[in-house]
Homo-oligomer: 339 residues x 2
DNA sequence: CTTGGCACTTGATGTAGCCGAGTGCTAAGC
DNA sequence: GCTTAGCACTCGGCTACATCAAGTGCCAAG
């Protein structure tokens, strides 16, 4: 920290002060609150240079400076080693993330934990389809002419779909179909399942053919739905809190959060850096998230799915990055070792 | 409308104007925009009386009046017949609420439809446990020492729970246990299931006893979890929009929305009036919802579960009530006729 | 390259005055 | 007894203006 050019120290100090105070920071305040070892005049020169480079701006001709998105970017890239979680935070994560309960529940707990830890909106993308395989399926009659198809994946996820059955469906035929389908689908990923289904259909005896086609269509729907990723989130209330008296920006962000498609694309687009983290700052995002920053990390086998937080550009990057990475790691561990 | 005492007309006019303009409304503006047939002075007298009764207040000694919670209450109680949905709205509801897809998906679609229709935050409580019975169960091995129990209810809901298995679980024993449990649990509600489980356990052969106890414990957990109702919601972004420049209140409301427990208790506590609707206005709610109004209606068989919207006290009560009731009816119909 | 000094800028804050919307009240009219 | 016109009064909001504090840029000296 002491080794880098003073310019960087100044930028760092500006970011830190601005994040915590929410007010433009001036040269005097800077030398007061940070051990820079130089006078305010020197800092002023540095600040002029930083402004020249587009890293900070003065909102009004003569007031303190605030970091630009570019400034935040440099600041974030500068963070080499991410500091570990505090002991208290570690404890909080561990109590929140024990592995009991069903899959959905664990995901929900995880995203809540992240929201609480960061005081921000947390989002979690469900694991991508490719990572889990079909384990079991079940056809259940719910009522006359109404049935349910259930697909169970190796990850513990369960997909279902209720549908209307035209014809009579004799118990024996249904059971036979289930066995037949399962023989062909077991171990496949949902993405591969369509091919498996075709093979299975070829073996269906003529008298069950109509029934089988109906079931297969429903299964196809389930697999198709699974292919679309899902997102869950928590901590929306934190948004209102963190934007404080500056609520102009909360509307667009809330909108973006409701547009799951946008979020999903964003998450999948984001590339992880060497630290295993992705950070998108303000205008690096398009559309309604241009006022927000997103910090995400992959988790699970293959790191195909991501989790992260969304917040105002003026956020505590080091702390949030730490938390996101920690939660991603915990979740990965739980998912892999299946305790 | 013309028959009721003019006082009520005035109150009604004040509520309507205030809701649409967001500004205190004065006597002059009232006679201009409503066909009251009297002069502003007369209206002033009425307003003084209404203020005396605590139905309206003047925020500042001499400015227009705004309705109090009590005023809204009277206004809402006064609405005798709820006007029907417009044709366009009907169409919107119907296209949004076709019955395809799985149960969760339909619920999600419903709550989104309500949010969109009312431009407010919509909440939907999942059907209460008592209304559906156990239809099927399944034990699936996911990985060595890791298994999944799945319970399927007659409503089409599917509950699952992954757990760790200590001992070996031979295929044959698992299948036998499944049949045994199912024989005792089929047709029971989750609430009754604990008793059924005990009966089933009594019949388990000694060598499978340990395994059976393990499974039973997991089933118990599933039933217990199901007993806790769940809530889903949509349209949080509408909140930011509707509170407009007055975002002070958005924080507490968002918090309340995240506290599902509070919301659940509120929904179950609310009693339906003759119109099949429940309306809670501002201070009638305790805690962080004291700035908000809630309009809810029961749906489904027995009307055990509710759906509704949450918004600022200054909301379009007639319109929102219409929408909530319409959506509740549509959903009830779809759930009952299972098309 | 750093530093102290200084003139200058500017948003924020406070005060005063004015205007308009609105009220309450009284006295007259139906 | 209710309604209405008129009138004096209030008060929030807006503008104008002065003042203040924080901050900047720049220059000249160390």
């Amino acid at each position: 920290m002491g080794e880098q050019p003073r310019r960087m120290q100044v930028l760092q100090a500006i970011v830190e002060d601005y994040v915590s105070s929410r007010e433009p920071v001036g040269s005097k305040a800077l030398v007061d609150r940070h051990e820079l070892g130089v006078s305010s005049a020197t800092v002023r020169n540095d600040m002029a240079a930083l402004e020249e480079e587009g890293l900070i701006v003065a909102p009004h001709t003569s007031s303190g400076r605030i970091p630009t998105d570019k400034g935040y970017r440099l600041f974030v890239d500068q963070i080499s080693e991410v500091k570990p979680l505090s002991a208290a935070e570690k404890r909080a994560v561990q109590t929140l993330l024990d592995a009991t309960g069903d899959f959905n529940e664990m995901m929900a707990r995880t995203v809540r934990a992240l929201a609480q830890l960061t005081n921000q909106v947390a989002v979690l993308q469900y694991p991508h389809v490719d990572s889990s395989t079909i384990r079991h399926l079940e056809f259940v009659s719910l009522a006359p002419h109404r049935a349910l198809v259930v697909v169970i994946l190796s990850s513990g996820q369960v997909d279902q779909r209720a549908f209307h059955v035209e014809a009579e469906a004799p118990e024996a035929s249904v059971a036979a179909l289930k066995q037949l389908f399962l023989r062909y689908l077991d171990g496949l990923t949902p993405a591969q399942a369509a091919a498996g289904l075709q093979l299975a259909l070829a073996e269906v005896p003529a008298e069950d053919r109509a029934l089988a086609l109906g079931f297969a269509a429903q299964l196809d729907q389930v697999f198709a739905a699974r292919r679309e990723d899902r997102i869950i989130m928590a901590g929306t209330a934190n948004l209102a809190r963190s934007t404080g008296d500056f609520p102009l920006s909360i509307g667009p962000i809330l909108e973006a959060l409701e547009e799951q498609v946008v979020l999903l694309r964003l998450l999948t687009e984001m590339e992880q850096d060497v630290r295993g983290l992705s950070v998108r700052i303000g205008s690096e995002n398009s559309g309604s998230l241009a006022e927000a920053s997103v910090i995400a990390a992959g988790y699970g086998p293959g790191a195909g799915a991501k989790l992260g937080v969304v917040g105002p550009t003026r956020m505590d990057y080091p702390g949030t990055m730490t938390a996101v990475r920690a939660v991603a790691r915990y979740l990965s561990r739980i998912l892999s070792q299946q305790p």
